[in-house]
Symmetry: C2
Subunit: 253 residues, 2 copies
């Protein structure tokens, strides 16, 4: 079945997603900031009240929902009220997670549109709105996957919980959980690796597009200031839920 949701593969999946995220950001960087793409109602009422970016994302999610993307424990939609799958369900018998509804995609989308894009693109409008929004969908989906993968990271940490984490969870103390799951050395390893990959990829790319605005430092900072903190936020939410479910198992009727 899906190797991506097996707990021993967590680290491998996280490293692999670095490529996906960096590639997606590089693709987006070939277009300008294009504010019009993110304005709800900018193109009248035909896009269901959404911005062009939001509309393409919504339509993409409708299609992917039909082929059961969001039944996978490592996938999270940005929109509610998606159509049901048309394919028969897959059993995720190897799903290590507890049942949960944690989904911070609204937050991810806001941060993407207000903070990430300014680090990735040059200001201006090149009218390449459709191509821009297509790239945005890839970026948002990759970021969402990486950030929500915190659930698997958290489950893994829970299963090998050190006393500090056990105590923080027992106290239901989010700040203490955050402190307990934070490993600065590991984070620095991630940031060094991401920076090195970003340097390689953007360097190679510059031969084709000397104007490429995306700098390795920007990609590193997106990891340091956005992706890693949001991933840890998901971890904390999951561990708070994890603890409450252990302490208070559902009543048997």
């Amino acid at each position: 079945m899906s190797l991506q949701i097996e707990i021993q593969n967590v680290r491998h999946v996280l490293i692999r997603l670095e490529e996906t995220i960096i590639f997606a950001l590089i693709e987006r960087a070939q277009f300008l900031r294009n504010h019009a793409v993110y304005e709800a109602g900018r193109f009248g009422s035909v896009l269901e009240g959404e911005s062009l970016c939001g509309y393409l994302l919504l339509e993409c999610e409708r299609t992917h929902a039909k082929v059961r993307r969001y039944t996978s424990p490592d996938e999270h939609p940005f929109f509610a009220n998606l159509p049901p799958p048309v394919l028969p369900p897959i059993g995720y018998s190897n799903n290590p997670l507890i049942p949960n509804q944690i989904n911070i995609n609204n937050q991810i989308r806001t941060i993407y549109e207000t903070k990430i894009l300014d680090r990735v693109t040059r200001t201006g409008d090149d009218q390449q709105y459709g191509s821009t929004a297509v790239c945005d969908v890839s970026c948002l989906q990759a970021l969402s996957k990486r950030i929500h993968y915190g659930k698997f990271v958290a489950e893994s940490k829970f299963r090998h919980a050190a006393p500090a984490l056990q105590a923080a969870m027992a106290a239901g103390d989010g700040s203490a959980i955050l402190a307990a799951i934070t490993d600065t050395a590991v984070e620095n390893d991630v940031l060094s690796r991401v920076h090195s990959k970003a340097r390689t990829y953007t360097n190679e790319f510059k031969q084709a597009a000397p104007q490429m605005p995306l700098q390795p430092d920007a990609i590193r900072s997106i990891y340091a200031e956005i992706i890693i903190p949001l991933n840890k936020q998901v971890q904390v939410e999951y561990l708070l839920l994890r603890h409450s479910l252990v302490v208070c198992p559902p009543l048997t009727p």
Copy 2:
């Protein structure tokens, strides 16, 4: 307006698309061959008679058609009968091409499914069908764009046509046109550059996925044996049409 369709940008766009194609193939390579994704009817009648890959491509094109992707002279759909745009039309006043209906996407899709995938993936089935098909859509769209960009290449060659090309066009001789537009030195430059990029990207990637089956030689061969020949096929078709339109301009009523 769209810089991508201005004739002086042809070379830049072609080089830039190398990244897009290599990235897309690398993403696809993380999943196995997954034959089931390409079998029409494999998932019953719910996918409109299409394979899972075909269905996702069709749904994607329906969405993109609504936001006018296929009104751009450098975009070509794989499917007919797509919905009309819901956005107002864009005028492509800088479009250098003559009106034409050249579209070899059926051929591209067949070659992708029967020849390219075997060079990119390992055999087997990992049941990651949805993720696989999502990657396929990116690959097919990138390949289609690169191959149909032959129209812009051809238009540029027409505008600076050497005597051999002029004579071949005047004779309506496809084989002679093919010979006249073939520049082996330029092709070798492309192949060297693609090989070098593929080496850089796949090398970096191997740290995350030592099992990565995609070799730089395979990417080079896909360019040498598929992308460049199909691009030249489009060029020949375009130049044959270009000539006929010059010789026989439309009758004025």
